[in-house]
């Protein structure tokens, strides 16, 4: 079974600064997808960024980028130029590419506070 570990229950960052959220995972599969989801107080889970394991290039979406280290099974999220609206719970998630069971395995989450 796959597991996802987020070792930082809480993080804080000053507005306009950069912060990195950590995620490690364990799997015996070679082909899979990794995601970062954001859940603000409005409750909706919003996809921030997606990484396909067979792609070596790290994914980027505007101010959000990942550092994907497949051998180390590490998938960290970097938020640049942090904004007040980035404050939220961030979940790292794993999904097998070859399974049809659609299961998303989530980490326990990191609560990010952005200080003005």
């Amino acid at each position: 079974a796959q597991t996802v570990t987020q070792s930082q229950p809480e993080m804080s960052v000053q507005e306009a600064e950069t912060v990195t959220l950590s995620c490690t995972y364990d799997t015996s599969e070679s082909d899979y997808y990794l995601f970062w989801y954001k859940q603000p107080p409005s409750r909706q889970m919003i996809l921030v960024i997606r990484q396909e394991a067979y792609k070596q290039q790290n994914a980027t979406e505007n101010r959000f980028s990942v550092n994907f280290q497949k051998a180390a099974k590490s998938f960290s999220l970097k938020i640049s130029d942090s904004q007040l609206g980035d404050a939220a719970m961030y979940f790292c998630a794993y999904r097998s590419a070859w399974s049809s069971n659609y299961k998303l395995t989530f980490g326990k989450g990191t609560l990010l506070t952005v200080n003005p």
Binding site: A97, S99, N101, Y102, F106, K108
Partner: protein, 119 residues
């Protein structure tokens, strides 16, 4: 349209009541999900429907009864719930795959959830 719409947003029900949660998407997704989320915890998968058929039931108590009337709608019928069932219930959808092949798009889109309180 990348929205998953859930109704109602808030629900308070007694332990003897029967109620239903509704979820709708118009993205042509063929996989739909129900998750339960307690405060400050990750979502826990309850059910998955794939092509309108129940694909996964994560050993959910029978007081929760899912239904998928068509490819755009997903319901969760609630009956005789317990106070510990109070939580945020999230619906999600994604593109489906008919077998163990790589799905073209894998991300799940979530609704805003229904905050359920059982009294």
């Amino acid at each position: 349209d990348t929205e998953v719409t859930q109704t109602p947003k808030h629900l308070v029900m007694g332990m003897t009541n029967k109620k239903s949660l509704k979820c709708e998407q118009h993205m042509g997704h063929r996989a739909m999900y129900w998750y339960k989320q307690k405060a400050k915890k990750p979502p826990e998968l309850m059910f998955v429907y794939s092509y309108e058929k129940l694909s996964i039931n994560e050993s959910v108590p029978s007081r929760f009864s899912p239904e998928c009337p068509n490819s755009s709608l997903l319901n969760l019928h609630l009956h005789a719930l317990q106070p510990e069932d109070s939580a945020l219930y999230l619906c999600a959808s994604s593109q489906g795959a008919t077998g163990p092949r790589r799905p073209m798009n894998t991300e799940a889109f979530f609704g805003q959830g229904t905050r359920l309180t059982v009294v």
